[in-house]
Amino acid sequence: MRRNPGLWYAMPLILMMLLFFAAPLVIVGWYSLMPPRSFALTADLGLQNYRSAFTEGYGRPLMWSIIGAALTTLVTALLAWPTAKILHHHAGRWASLVTALIALPIFISESVRLFGLSVFLMPGGGILAGTLNAVFDVQIGTILNTRLAALVGMIYIHFPFMLFPMLLGVAMIPADRIEAARDLGANRWAVLREVELPLAAPGLLVGGLLTFVLCLGANAEAAILGGRAVTVITAAIEQRFNYAQDWPMGAALTVLVILVTAALVFPALRRIDLGRIIRR
């Protein structure tokens, strides 16, 4: 042991990770194998909660969460790419200001922002509908309490998490590679496909993962903007743990979410050279 002081220096971190990361995971995993509605951790293991997860209507919330996360990731990526390109090309005072404007809302509570958006979208006297009515004499309804409203909220909240890694990614594309590709006969799409996307891939993957994983665990958007139109998996898990007092079921749903996340994160991370991003 004396020959390996690094291990000793790492000990506090190792202990912390074991205690606060590994142990809770083990406990959640263990609970998920207990009989329904039990509160004890015993040796009486079984898969009945997982069977229920797919037969008793939990598939739908899980599906909504995955579809919502995927759609949000897609839309934010489509919005963030041109934004990142423009910000990168016009680096300077204006770009800094725009970047700050996008970043600042992160420091405001998510619920506050979502309630703000809710006020904006309200029918009748809501900010959008009211203004359109007063100024242009146009009457509109509202998307509030629909799946679309929940999705808009998710996109609004998670856009910065996609944009900033993507900015790093875009910064990793040397301008001369784009010029070389143009010079060799590549049109705009070919430049995007052959040069820009592959070179910016680490940023895209990090942004995509971050957004997807955050969206998979998001429930405030659905609760505040989606009304009763959509139940996401996090809401179902919360309900199992609190209201239903069915810890094993909640734990099984949690494990499923973790598995979905892991199935995405691990293969993706293997493809990214994180060192390259950090060095830039």
Binding site: P174, D176, A180, D183
Partner: protein
């Protein structure tokens, strides 16, 4: 040569960036199959010029025609030209083969045909065929150079542009690549337009050289013409170390002002003397005494740094001459009027 058609014609080509004019009203015809080199110090506008030719930037004014066809507005990807960048700009996320095949892939050439051509190009730039599947990141500096060249040739361009591709390479490899490039030019018969800050490099490879300063061509000519008959001090001094003596009228006589030496038959305001034109044997027409400040052995030659009158001069003599001269000595040096190149500005 006058009857051969112009591969590329520049007419009043101009590029302004805000208030500065990087390329100022340049007109020239570049001949088919010519190795044309543009030499200039940094900031002379040579890189801006080649970017206009490649279509990477749009000119502020002027026209550009390729074999009689106006390409001024044609974007880079639709010009039948290719460029070897100073940074090489290789696609590091691709293999050697994928880099070379890039232009062919853009044209929709079938994979087997692409591969066959890429292997051919590898041979042409003297890289082993087993480099084909390697990532370019595993190639050395010289190998990357060759991949960049093969990639540019892969688009089968009418004209190849080179933007100082050898500037980051060590001396010996650079010399090798210069010769290879010249041979490649002869073998492919394509028109090469080459940018460099080194007149020495230009001399080795070029059919014609243009010396560029402040956005304009100072002089255009064969390497021989540029070397023998530089138009002014700027062109002359670009060749490397030269001595420039000012001629003045003093009391009715024409003299080399710095050396206080009579200069009869002066044909210009400045006398350009190459270091090898100065002899330490005092056999020349113009003799002067000089203080030896420095003595450097250059292998086949010996270089002396001299102070004579108010002038600082450099003399280079063949090895075996001036062996007895030491730093600190005062010795008699001379030169002949036939070795003087006269310029007026």
């Amino acid at each position: 040569m006058a009857h051969s058609p112009a591969a590329l014609s520049l007419t009043g080509l101009t590029k302004r960036f805000g208030k500065t004019t990087a390329v100022n009203d340049i007109s020239i015809d570049i001949r088919e199959g010519e190795f044309f080199t543009i030499v200039g110090p940094s900031g002379s506008g040579k890189s801006s010029l080649v970017r206009l030719l490649a279509g990477l930037d749009a000119p502020s004014a002027g026209r550009l025609t390729l074999r009689g066809q106006d390409i001024t507005e044609t974007p880079a990807n639709r010009r039948p030209t290719a460029m070897v960048f100073q940074s090489l700009a290789l696609f590091d996320h691709r293999t050697v083969g994928q880099n070379i095949e890039f232009a062919m892939k853009m044209k929709g050439v079938a994979p087997e045909a692409r591969r066959a051509r890429a292997l051919e190009l590898l041979r042409l730039v003297r890289l082993p065929e087993d480099y084909y599947p390697r990532p370019v990141t595993q190639c050395s500096g010289g190998e990357r150079q060759r991949v960049a060249l093969a990639r540019a040739l892969g688009s089968d361009p009418e004209i190849l542009f080179f933007d100082e591709p050898l500037s980051a390479i060590d001396y010996r490899l650079r010399k090798t690549l210069e010769v290879e490039l010249k041979e490649l030019h002869q073998r492919t018969g394509k028109t090469f337009i080459y940018i460099t800050h080194s007149l020495e490099e230009a001399m080795v490879m070029s059919d014609r050289i243009a010396i560029m300063r402040a956005g304009q061509f100072e002089q255009i000519g064969t390497p021989e013409e540029i070397y023998r008959r530089p138009m002014n001090r700027f062109v002359a001094s670009f060749m490397g170390e030269v001595n420039i003596l000012t001629v003045q009228q003093q009391g009715g006589a024409t003299v080399f002002a710095d050396l206080e030496l009579p200069a009869p038959d002066a044909k210009g305001t400045f006398a350009v003397l190459r270091p090898e034109a100065l002899s330490c044997d005092a056999e020349g027409t113009f003799c002067f005494d000089a203080h030896i400040v420095q003595k450097l052995m250059l292998g086949s030659r010996t270089q002396f740094h001299l102070r004579a009158g108010t002038a600082t001069l450099i003399a280079e003599v063949a090895a075996g001459h001036g062996t007895t001269l030491r730093i600190g000595d005062t010795a008699r040096f001379s030169f002949d009027p036939t070795d003087i190149v006269w310029v007026n500005s």
